[in-house]
Amino acid sequence: MAKVPRNFKLLEELEKGEKGIGDGSCSYGLEDGDDITMSNWTGTILGPGHTVHENRIYSLRIHCDDHYPEVAPAVTFISRINLPFVDQKNGKVDLKKISNLSHWSHEMSLETVLVEIRRAMASGENKKLPQPEEGSTFF
């Protein structure tokens, strides 16, 4: 298979994100529409139903460096959230601690990242964790 270069993969992801992905429970877009390097993105996750996160909207920041998609993006929660894979000092997500993301592959995408984080939020061990006040942020 032809190897799709970073920029053309990100352009495809951008177009997919603009159309809307899945059932709308996750979304993402460029932080700055003028950013020709397409490095900085924002994402949102709608808290999964039947969990402590229900009806909450979480914002995240996603950074894709020059080595994306060979290297996973850096993901940070802006909204305060209590999860074992989120650093409580700065909101940084440790993708290695999320089962479906621990072995990053270049076939994955920003969509995969958000969908898998959301899935982990709803897992048996995480769905009842006490959460900070709604609307509070790490910054």
């Binding site: 032809a2 190897k3 270069p5």
Partner: protein, 151 residues
């Protein structure tokens, strides 16, 4: 890595040996379907004097599917958006496998000479071109000096 189709090898060789005027295209060493491209702004256009960087990728199903091309240098043009994406029919529904990398790049060069504000991608730039062409051209020239002139 899978062998590169003969057609791509031939096109690359020819681009290298007889490059069209004002155009260069060089494949990346680690991905021979991915090209660094430069196009000189055509004489008499608001982009004259500028050298514009682009990137081009030949997808797996090329030449059945068109190449993907994008400007990396900022450019004030009604058919090129803020991320460098190009609105050009042969890159979409008018693509034919009879076309080549060479013809695509020549068409992009021609697009620089004849902006088409009636089929815009950058709607604000197109509006500017329609309402005050003189001022819009001056803006294109200024961006060319600012972003597309080395040093």
């Amino acid at each position: 890595m899978a062998a590169l189709p003969k057609r791509i090898i031939k096109e690359t060789e020819r681009l290298n040996k007889e490059a069209p005027d004002g155009i260069t295209a060089e494949p990346h060493e680690d991905n021979l379907r991915y090209f660094d491209v430069t196009i000189k702004g055509p004489g008499g256009s608001p982009f004259e004097g500028g050298t514009f960087k682009l990137e081009l990728f030949l997808p797996e199903d090329y030449p059945m599917a068109p190449p993907k091309v994008r400007f990396l240098t900022k450019i004030y043009h009604p058919n090129i958006d803020r991320l460098g994406r190009i609105c050009l029919d042969i890159l979409k529904d008018k693509w034919s496998p009879a076309l080549q990398i060479r013809t695509v790049l020549l068409s992009i060069q021609a697009l620089l000479s004849s902006p088409n504000p009636d089929d815009p991608l950058a709607t604000d730039v197109a509006k500017h071109y329609k309402e005050n062409e003189k001022e819009a051209i001056a803006q294109s020239q200024e961006w060319t000096r600012k972003y597309a002139v080395a040093g």
